[in-house]
Symmetry: D5
């Protein structure tokens, strides 16, 4: 099943530059692990914003939540989740 | 360049069932023409809503607008447009 | 997989009382068919509003969309969809 | 009487990891106490978000408030409360 | 149990003056019937708006919904419902 | 003249438990002083939220502001103010 | 007592040009009657919008509501009402 | 003085295609008259939406309102107005 | 030219009482300087909120911005700006 | 391609005056570098707010994001991005 997710990151203003750098590095590592697994299919930067739009292809809502909540910045993001399906007008055989 | 678009359709309440059917049929035809051209890469149904999320890969903002505004229901949709780029953490070589 | 859905109904102001009664009757019939199938587990009225909160237990996002979009008033509702999973603090064995 | 509640948790950015862990542990303990009492019927995780949707079956608004406000993170959550009733189209005998 | 309700009335623009007058008259009759029963305790006009704030003291959420949904303009109102309880700082013995 | 007020309290996350307890105690004292004066007629807890809905019967907007702004947590609340009047459909002789 | 009011006018799309002209003329007549009485102190056009911001100096909330609700377009406006008082930092002796 | 304006057009659903075409043609004529006068400096289409962002350089708020309100579709647009000035960090000598 | 401005003040929670008192004192001084100049015509307190509505009569958008941005609490306020003009239905000769 | 961007700056309340001054100085330097390159065509101050509206003329969404995200205050701004194209009613030959 496929989810489209929009994540807006809000770096806490009281964090030191070291703490920020540490979180950002671990964020990259975690998201790349999931991308390489094939579950996190697309990761796009929203042009001009500290946000991304991602597309995940997962086995279940549980697996989807496991991936998103493993991100170190998860508690500091505003997240919009959309569950999508094949559209009746789509010409593409598969959803992805 | 890639745009992610969310379109919420609001069928006018005063239209006859024939007028609705005509618009819906032409909507399908138009969207499929653009999908076959390779410009409209993904067309997903938002589960449980009369909405879609689409991904378009176009030459320019002009071409993007030409495609979306050619949809017969264009004047009756609420549309959210997001311009996206390659994310620094993306492992995929290309954006699509 | 489980979805929680909130549906706000907005009866079109230009419809005759007959057309409204026809839609409302078919709405009831459709929702009861799905409830009896066991897919539409809970249908609650929001106290004081022309809205409902429902809980559906389905095989896939496709099946979920098939059920919701089969409702006659589907094009005239504002719908909020939430995909839910088992909570780590839940004591109940199963999600439902 | 039945309430559907959506709680969005926002962990304060200035708290130490110890303080966060302490609050999270007491949150779990409190919510499980109420679940075991039978008052807090469902506790679902919103997929992809630090939020839950819960269903409580209580004697009165007072009891409902007593339960929710006993959560240690209560002052740091954004909470949406919906009072629900049996729906006229519901086929299920009881509301829960 | 006590509910505070805010109702914003939106008279449909396509209705004739006769139809509007008929609805408004029946609205008055219905709300006064419930006020006289003692269930609809306060009915206030929001100064400068076509809205009211009301306070109802009812036996159950079912009774509350029965009262509000009996109003002829119910399908054409935007309604905000708040379930309230005795406040720990209240000096008044009873809630009303 | 009568105002209906909704106050959402947001306890600052950086305050010590002592500072919070001190503010909460003075908040109680202040609100009870005004309730006993007869100006602050109702103080209700919103079920499930750190909010209240209050009804004040005052001489003037000046007096109303004097009361609300005397609350120690006033700078940390989100406040919605509604000025209300007697409703033409009200059966009750007086507004309160 | 002084109210600041913002009124956004939404001309119903189904009205004939005659009906619109009639309403607009009566709207002017009504607002000018109240301006000449001294109760409606300022009537400003919001630059670039079909909206106005007005300042009224009235005896009571009842009188304020009587004035605003006498406008023929009252049911078709979105209205924001703000009750204001003398500011402690104001140098002007009187509020108006 | 310079205004940035965003106009979202909402074509009334009940209008005939002739009425729509007539309004659209007069809209074009009016906007071009003002553009040629040098007052309406930029008129941009928002990519993917039935909206425009415009920049006007006018003598006064009165002149600005005269221009925008002369558009035939003015009553059917949602308009956001922003008054702008020279920015202290701007390197450009003049504002336009 | 005339602007109507609504300013919501949000005192930073981490500031000491001395820092708050200092800012509040300088805020008063600055606003009174502009009021005495005749540019800041009205300064009203929003009843029940830490907000004001002000009316300024200035030479240009530049002068308007100079005044508002000179307030010490300017970076900590949420500000809504409305540019207004003489209304065609206004009976008053001048705008102020 | 042209983007219109609105940036609302929110200076973190916990920063020292030195840290703020440092960020503001580097913000100026960065924005002026891009303005001199010809990519950042307009930088306007929103009158009365700590916000700007900017117009950028760039080669690609990537270049646009590179410019905006190079601003030191980028993580502390709320940013609204609009991709614009030539309008069919525009009389100007080029978009800028």
């Amino acid at each position: 099943m496929v989810y489209v997710v929009e994540m807006d990151v809000k770096i806490p203003e009281t964090w030191s530059e070291e703490k920020i750098a540490d979180y950002v590095a671990r964020e990259k590592e975690t998201s790349q692990k999931w991308q390489k697994s094939g579950k996190w299919v697309y990761l796009w930067r929203v042009a001009g914003k500290y946000s991304n739009i991602s597309v995940l292809d997962v086995e279940s809502p549980e697996e989807f939540h496991q991936i998103i909540s493993s991100l170190p910045l998860f508690p500091y993001m505003t997240i919009k989740v959309t569950s999508v399906t094949k559209h009746p007008n789509a010409v593409r055989e598969n959803i992805l």
